[in-house]
């Protein structure tokens, strides 16, 4: 029985991007210069001109769209009715978001809460902080 991963499946990244990969990421992201990046805690919302990839819609959690999960329940969320989230099947660590009308990104924590920020309408790439390792480790506070 052949248990190898079929060759037509995508390769999965197991380390930080190389310099060559970084260069291509500039092009891939198609940064939207009309807006600015939003940094809240360990989450970065990168404004992009369009979402891309083999995407599937993210189910909201009640009235919230969770853009960054936290082990302790201190999620970073936006209003689900104003935004759609998408996961790239080829890289589930990468989340894309389309904000239909201006909303806020809120950190659901009472102590050491990261201040809420306005998120203007548009497309975003949601990037979590990671730490190096055999597999990138999501870094959260």
């Amino acid at each position: 029985m052949d248990l190898r991963v079929p060759s037509f499946l995508p390769a999965f990244k197991t380390s930080s991007p190389t310099k060559k990969e970084k260069k291509t990421m500039d092009e891939i992201y198609a940064y939207d210069f009309k807006r600015h990046t939003i940094l809240q805690g360990d989450v970065a919302l990168i404004p992009v001109e369009q979402v891309m990839g083999d995407l599937v819609t993210l189910e909201p959690s009640g009235r919230d769209l969770i853009v960054a999960h936290s082990e302790t329940g201190h999620h970073h969320v936006v209003e689900a009715e104003k935004a759609d989230g998408f996961v790239d099947i080829e890289d589930p660590s990468r989340l894309w978001m389309t904000v239909r009308e201006d909303t806020q990104i809120v950190h659901q924590r009472e102590e050491f809460q990261h201040e809420a920020q306005i998120v203007p309408a548009g497309h975003y790439l949601v990037q979590r902080q990671t730490a190096p390792g055999p597999r990138p480790t999501v870094w959260s506070d």
Partner: protein, 339 residues
């Protein structure tokens, strides 16, 4: 005292030696030789609660139990399938903790609710498909499997048999083929993993097999008995943490404590300074066993955070790119502030 690393996939693979993961490959591999037969023979099945290879784990509810009820020759195929669909095998015997809900095991939803692509927090729904837990590669394979149901050339009868296999295997965690026998390992009562698929629970066991055997681990590093309780770990002084013999164990416990506290206690060496506390500095910590490099920055709440970075990174800009998955630093710099 040497800890061992158990990633989720490694744990599964270690559990039954050369056993087969319930990935799409495995399911397809199990299914294919069967459907090619002229008659669909019912295989014998031996059911395990806990793998022998992990027999040194602590036992709460008695010894390893091998359930051979499915091995009875007179059992019909429909009974066999019905057994695997029995709800009790899918029930998770642990209360859902709302506060930690995303990583705690929850009762799997009805199959109609399963949406494999809904990968919130990476594993939110991946663990629901087939009632098991999957890593990224497995998710993609499962996606392929599910999407291939309607491939041209696959007859309706093939699809039916294939679906039966998928359904039959939906209640097991691991399967191992042995000629005409299938060894299956029941789903654990609960499994907790971190967003990277490592076995993890800071407040209790991260894995409990059906017979009550427990495993404690912190981000994939098995915790020895003295460090299983959070209060015991919090009680350790920095010097005690740093002198732990096992470096993997030391690192996860230092990360849990916060590398900033370690740096404040033993000091650090400055490598690069952006002169912006929120953009940060690159520093080295000299700890037993070698030097570790960190991005030392202020988070939006005013706390000092040290994030591990790779040793070859020597500038703050590169460090910021690295911890943001390779996002070019100028994109991050457009942010007016970090909250």
């Amino acid at each position: 005292m040497v800890a061992s690393r158990h990633s989720y996939s490694q744990a599964k693979r270690a559990a039954l030696g050369d056993g087969i993961d319930l990935t799409a490959d495995a399911i397809a591999g199990l299914w294919e030789p069967i459907y090619r037969r002229s008659e669909y023979d019912r295989p014998k099945v031996i059911h395990y609660d806990c793998p022998d290879e992990w027999s040194d784990l602590e036992i709460d509810d008695g010894p390893l139990h091998i359930n051979e009820e499915l091995n009875a020759n007179e059992q019909s195929r429909s009974d066999w399938l019905a057994h695997y669909r029995t709800p009790h095998l899918n029930r998770v015997e642990r209360d859902q903790d709302v506060e930690f809900g995303w990583s705690r095991n929850i009762e799997p939803p009805a199959r109609s609710e399963v949406v494999i692509a809904n990968v919130t927090g990476i594993f939110q729904s991946a663990k629901n498909e087939f009632g098991a837990y999957y890593n990224w590669a497995e998710i993609a394979q499962l996606k392929f499997l599910l999407s291939s149901r309607n491939l041209p050339g696959v007859t309706s009868e093939d699809r039916q048999i294939r679906q039966e296999w998928i359904d039959a295997l939906s209640s097991v965690w691991l399967a191992k083929l042995d000629d005409d026998t299938i060894h299956v390992l029941r789903r654990p009562r609960f499994v907790n993993i971190d967003p990277n698929g490592e076995l993890h629970d800071a407040h209790g066991p991260c894995l409990q097999f059906a017979n009550g055997r427990h495993l404690w681990a912190l981000h994939g590093i098995e915790l020895p008995a003295p460090f299983r309780a959070r209060k015991d770990r919090d009680r350790l002084k920095v010097a005690e943490l740093l002198t732990l013999e096992d470096q993997d164990l030391r690192d996860v416990m230092c990360a849990e404590r916060g590398w900033a506290e370690i740096a404040e206690t033993i000091g650090c060496v400055l490598i690069d300074d952006s002169r912006d506390p929120y953009w940060g500095k690159v520093v080295d910590l000299w700890i037993p066993g070698g030097t570790r490099r960190f991005l030392d920055a202020m988070c939006g709440t005013g706390r000092r955070i040290l994030v591990p970075i790779e040793e070859h990174i020597s500038t703050v800009n590169d460090a910021q790119e690295s911890i943001h998955g390779g996002t070019p630093f100028w994109m991050l710099r457009t942010a007016p502030r970090r909250t």
